[in-house]
């Protein structure tokens, strides 16, 4: 189980391949990559703030919870902070299991919890000003299904 919180970018394809390599024996590998969307063609940059110290702890706790719920051969979480541009990868989750259902469920669980329980905050900088991205009710609601 690997958790990385980092400022530098990463290569999702390379990460997927090395993750798959590391979990030999798993038949199913699921990945999720989050990419900075352009906000109506005018996003200048995205700033991601986090809470050093708490961040890795919170993510590790979420990953541990996923391990108790599903039979996982491995899990990977990478989340960036700092300054990002449109099209940059923000974060990635990968899960591996014997069968597809566990891998899919665990990846969705990790995403839902990362979204609302890991201490990251996004700010969008556009030509018309800066604004903090607001949490969506549906993201909080998504937790209730687990």
């Amino acid at each position: 189980m690997t958790v990385r919180v980092q400022e530098e970018t990463f290569d999702p394809g390379l990460e997927l391949n090395s993750f798959t390599q590391s979990v030999q024996g798993a038949g199913a590998v699921v990945s999720f990559t989050g990419v900075v969307r352009d906000v109506e063609g005018k996003l200048a940059e995205m700033l991601i703030e986090h809470y050093p110290g708490m961040t890795e702890k919170a993510i590790s706790k979420i990953v541990d919870e996923a391990k108790t719920r599903w039979s996982l051969a491995g899990a990977l979480v990478i989340h960036r902070y700092g300054q990002l541009g449109a099209g940059d990868q923000i974060m990635m989750v990968a899960t591996a299991s014997r069968h597809r259902v566990d891998a899919f469920q665990a990846a969705e669980f990790l995403m839902d919890y990362l979204k609302s329980r890991a201490p990251f905050w996004k700010k969008e900088r556009t030509a018309s000003g800066d604004s903090w991205v607001e949490a969506r009710d549906e993201d909080e609601d998504a937790l209730s299904r687990w």
Partner: protein, 82 residues
């Protein structure tokens, strides 16, 4: 006690952290003390429902006890992920 602020809470207060001496028993008590520090703090804490709190880097509640707590952090709901 270290008190940390993130995102717009940090921006409203103007500093990322304060180190304070306090006898506050609960998070709510601490917030009352912080509000007394000036209007930046009143602005940051104007609507508690828009905030989250972590005690020693674990999410907690506003009525939680501060007994033994070394680090308190205030921030808006998280928005990580995609």
């Amino acid at each position: 006690m270290d008190v940390l602020y993130f995102a717009w809470v940090r921006e409203r207060i103007g500093v990322p952290r304060d180190t304070i001496e306090t006898d506050a028993a609960t998070v709510n008590d601490l917030i009352e003390e912080l509000r007394a520090r000036g209007e930046e703090y009143q602005f940051a804490f104007e609507d508690i429902r828009a905030l989250r709190v972590a005690l020693d880097q674990e999410l907690s509640d506003f009525d939680a006890s501060l007994s033994g707590v070394k680090e308190v952090a205030f921030f808006p709901p998280m928005t990580g992920g995609e």
